[in-house]
Symmetry: C2
Subunit: 338 residues, 2 copies
DNA sequence: TTGTACGCGTTATCAT
DNA sequence: ATGATAACGCGTACAA
């Protein structure tokens, strides 16, 4: 075993097996076109040399290996790993590699990461995020790479759009709270400037206005953790006039923070105030009281996005559903579908 | 804009700028060796064509682009995204791309993913996981690629090892519980066959034995969620004789599940039973009562692992600390450092 | 300062 | 069934 050998290549295997590189390549790609005898020789050579084919070269030469890129602001948002797991499932089935790019909520970094993603010429780019700059839009268009927005529905889709309508979902959830008999329903959100949160707010406002009610929005800064912000928002809402009898949070983490705070303050949920979240994170069903919320098909979203980039991936049959739902738990009552 | 152009290459830019490919290449790699005049022409050509250099080809030709691979059982474990974020920070600074491979707790899949990672010839492979098969060990050795185990300390490290000693941490935590005056300290764990959990159990047993106490271990199956298992384990422990006055959970999620269950049962924590976790997840400081636990330097671990693979990445000065700590919160008292 | 020519490791095409 | 040869797009000696 020569130690400083730069790399074991197809040539090495070929020499050892007494054939040419082309035969080795065929051994991998169309084994049935290689005679059983040489097949054994090749297998032995590969094993002895510990050969692993170079995907970089393979991809440059033909488009043999598949590659997917995921771009996301952060992995700390609970739904992001879930979407990525969906992507990864499909990628695995299609033997595709997965590249991950974080933008850290920074638009400049996002431009860089999008360009980096394009530079690897993946079979598709799956975008979890918010706004996309014009510069990036141009590059994406020029690159001719499928670009899938997998989280929020886009007003100006760059490519394919499998995202959710966060405004419709928030509107419908508000309608169900209204239908359940809550009189003054507030909406609580962190001031973060994200499109999805603005969408959710919009949906809430639509529903309230449609029923002739005055929207009552509580906002706080984005310095603290989501849990802390939730606590703060609950306190704000309790101090308002009129004090809401139900509070719809723009995210489950905020709502969970509010539940913890309610517990600290000795408030009863939902008797003193009903609380409702958005996202259905794992914690939401375990917390006491369990959280009424909007469940999002995150994994399915990821799978769907990946399928759009990898047409060769085995499709499930029947095609799997990818729908959101409203989950009534202990923290708030919900009216049935209108 | 020709639409079905296969790809925009260096050649296209060169032609448009009236120079050869070499000059464009230099423009990117050593701009100072290109005259300002042609520099402008090139910049214009790049912009007009929306050219993005092909990293695949670049990497095959020279080793211009950097690439890192992360292999993990899942993204659903709360510490995994944190470690990856650490990796990603450093990767960004070094202009390295990041590949992600999930093994889904399946050793066969893990072998495949490790081989896939190697096939892209990354500058390093960062492994978050447990056991590594012999076959994989051989491939890793043959590939000559830095292989960093970033989560658990390995008995038989394959490559570099920046992991934590989960047994030492569990031992010290147990010692602190003993020092705090708890009489019967139980250990609760899911039967999952992971090395890190076995390590934690071992540390607990060491500490108990050292103080002449009989270890009292509670185990449950791995079918349910962590939260549900935690609830189950709490119930088991309460039914035991003697009933422990403190329960050390092998993970924070289990402990959180126990706290929720205690709340449902009307048990007071820590008066009726003290509860202690391992991992310091975000939820642990927010839950009521807040959870006493072992805090792990996950992000720093990721950064450190990445630095080992990317020597060119700008190093922080002074070198950042990467140490665990014991966090006393409401759910259990802790003795100060022995 | 700029250009020529070859190599990186694999695959596709066309022969044999 | 197997081989020879030419790409794939870029980097780098070396030459001009």
């Amino acid at each position: 075993m020569k130690s400083q050998r730069p790399q074991i290549t197809l040539d090495d295997v070929a020499t050892r097996a007494g054939v040419t590189t082309m035969t080795i390549s065929r051994y991998f790609r169309t084994p049935e076109k290689v005679s059983p005898a040489t097949r054994d020789k090749i297998a032995a050579a590969i094993d002895q040399l510990g050969y692993v084919a170079d995907s970089t070269a393979a991809r440059l030469a033909g488009k043999t290996r598949s590659l997917l890129a995921v771009i996301t602001p952060s992995l700390a948002l609970p739904y992001v790993p879930e979407i990525i797991e969906g992507v990864s499932e499909v990628a695995d089935r299609a033997d595709a590699a997965l590249m991950l790019h974080e933008t850290r909520f920074d638009l400049t970094l996002q431009e860089q990461r999008i360009e980096a993603a394009i530079s690897w010429r993946p079979d598709g780019i799956i975008f979890i995020g918010d706004t996309i700059s014009d510069r990036s839009r141009r590059q994406i268009a020029a690159a001719q790479i499928p670009f899938v927005e997998a989280w929020a529905q886009s007003d100006h889709p760059v490519g394919i759009d499998v995202g959710l309508s966060h405004s419709d979902l928030a509107r419908d959830m508000t309608l169900r709270l209204i239908g359940a008999g809550y009189k003054t329903i507030g909406f609580a959100v962190r001031r973060m400037g994200y499109r999805v949160e603005a969408e959710r707010l919009k949906g809430y406002q639509q529903a309230m206005t449609a029923h002739g009610r005055a929207p009552q929005v509580f906002e706080c800064g984005d310095q603290a953790t989501s849990f802390q912000s939730g606590a703060q928002l609950l306190t704000m809402a309790r101090a308002a006039t009129p004090a809401p009898d139900a509070l719809f949070f723009a995210g489950d983490l905020l709502a969970a923070g509010a539940l913890f705070e309610a517990q600290r303050q000795g408030l009863r949920v939902p008797q003193d105030i009903a609380i409702c979240g958005f996202g259905d994170y794992p914690i939401s069903r375990e917390i006491v009281p369990s959280l009424t919320t909007v469940a999002l098909p995150t994994r399915a979203l990821g799978r769907r996005a990946a399928h759009l980039c990898l047409p060769q991936a085995p499709q499930p049959s029947p095609p799997e559903p990818c729908t959101s739902s409203f989950v009534e738990r202990q923290s708030a009552r919900l009216a049935p579908v209108p």
